[in-house]
């Protein structure tokens, strides 16, 4: 089998997605950590992702692929076991729609981490509006976005399940307040119980420290 490599950064939710997909499908891979992806990108990263210079970068048999969702679709097509997408074209389009929705809105959902005071109140409200749409229309009455089993859209939204609480703590604000978002909360619990997800959860304290530090950077950048 050809060599599989993943260039990543341990806190990145985009990298986690690829790791989950690889583990779900039982694919062996070599993980390479970008030591300082924000301020001192490695030669390898610049070589394999010259256009965006970001992680994750997936390298299969020496050939690189960038952008997490593009990587997920490639993994799905190359290793069809434990499928992330259904067979029906309309259901596939639905899964892709919600995956794209996450991509388009993620900045809005993260806003509360990067703001303070009144701006944070507004950002929190915006995040809740987006999450309301996700819960009502994306998830609906289903156990997972993918239906009875988790799929591509679950992986795309997965960071909400694994990291939202940590982000809320770092930001000092509650986005998913108690008793609001009951279906999303149930999905979070179900998602985190999936064995592959459970065993890949990032170190809670390390991630909290990381996001607190990022918040400081964002706030000082905004102030200057």
């Amino acid at each position: 089998m050809e060599e599989v490599k993943l260039l990543g950064s341990w806190p990145s939710p985009f990298v986690h997605r690829v790791i989950w997909a690889l583990k779900l499908k039982g694919i062996k891979y070599e993980y390479v950590e970008e030591e300082d992806v924000l301020y001192n990108k490695s030669e390898m990263l610049l070589k394999y992702n010259p256009v965006h210079k970001k992680v994750p970068v997936f390298i299969h048999g020496g050939k690189p692929i960038a952008e997490s969702i593009v990587i997920l679709e490639y993994i799905e097509e190359t290793w069809p076991q434990n499928p992330l997408l259904p067979d029906d074209p309309h259901e596939r389009a639905e899964a892709r729609f919600w995956t794209k929705f996450e991509e388009d809105k993620i900045q809005k959902i993260f806003g509360f981490l990067m703001t303070a005071g009144e701006k944070q109140v507004a950002a929190t409200k915006e995040a809740q509006e987006v999450l309301r749409i996700v819960e009502e229309h994306g998830l609906g009455e289903k156990k997972f976005f993918g239906g009875n089993n988790m799929g591509l859209a679950d992986i795309a939204f997965g960071w909400i399940a694994t990291s939202m609480e940590i982000l809320e703590q770092a930001a000092g604000v509650k986005v998913l307040e108690a008793n609001t978002f009951p279906r999303l909360k149930a999905w979070i619990q179900n998602f985190n119980e999936i064995p592959v997800i459970k065993e890949s959860l990032p170190d809670r304290n390390a991630l909290l420290t990381y996001y607190k530090a990022r918040r400081v950077v964002f706030l000082s950048a905004a102030a200057s």
Partner: protein
């Protein structure tokens, strides 16, 4: 059962054009419904309640939204004719990457050219050419982004060509002078019937943008 295909669209939309080209490539018969975006139809609001945007493809009553998702859907359902995406997974990944690049970079920078002024516009101009230089690099010496035949990335990008007169006029530059390969590529694509019949006249788009700018108080 005969397929019922309806497209909710808006003639100057570069996103809607992508779907029209895909449908034409596959020879699919469909009903075209022009939307008045100042007065969206109940059908549009019902079929795309999340974004309320065009294009929306309605296939046997079920909606598909987002232009590239629609194109992939069309490619999967009508898979026996004129494939739009390559067959090999790695090439498919590359096609998806570059189509994603068009959506993330090209649309935004193009929009800023005719909606901003002064420093912002100068920055947009610079970025516009940087972005197209990257695309020229990716095209290389190939006739199409897809290689020997017109494909997914070509379809994703060529619809912007109908807006080039808008970009050049408001941007006050000449695209052919900076990116001759892109113009040559676009003209090659226009030799295809599906593209030629879909792309509206550049001057018509310019007139439309003029009206839009008046409405938004940009003139």
């Amino acid at each position: 059962m005969a397929d019922e295909v309806v497209l909710l669209d808006f003639w100057p939309s570069m996103f809607g054009m992508r779907v029209r080209i895909a449908l034409a490539e596959k020879g699919i018969k469909y009903e075209y419904k022009e939307e008045d975006l100042k007065n969206k139809s109940p059908l549009l609001l019902q079929m795309n309640p999340i974004h309320k945007k065009i294009p929306v493809l309605i296939h046997n009553g079920k909606p598909v939204c987002e232009s590239l998702i629609i194109v992939q859907y069309i490619d999967e359902v009508w898979k026996d004719k004129s494939p739009l995406l390559p067959s090999h997974p790695y090439q498919r990944a590359q096609a998806r990457f570059w189509a994603d690049f068009v959506d993330k970079k090209v649309f935004d920078v193009s929009r800023r050219l005719w909606t901003t002024k002064g420093e912002e516009k100068e920055a947009a101009k610079k970025e516009f050419f940087e972005t197209y230089k990257i695309l020229e690099g990716e095209l290389g010496d190939k006739p199409y982004f897809g290689g020997e035949t017109f494909g997914y990335v070509d379809l994703a990008l060529v619809t912007f060509y109908s807006w080039f007169y808008v970009f050049e006029t408001f941007g006050e530059f000449n695209i052919e002078a900076e990116c001759p390969k892109i113009i040559a590529w676009a003209k090659r694509c226009l030799q295809k019937e599906s593209v030629a019949k879909t792309l509206p006249d550049q001057k018509k788009v310019y007139e439309f943008v003029g009206q839009m700018r008046k409405r938004f108080g940009l003139e």
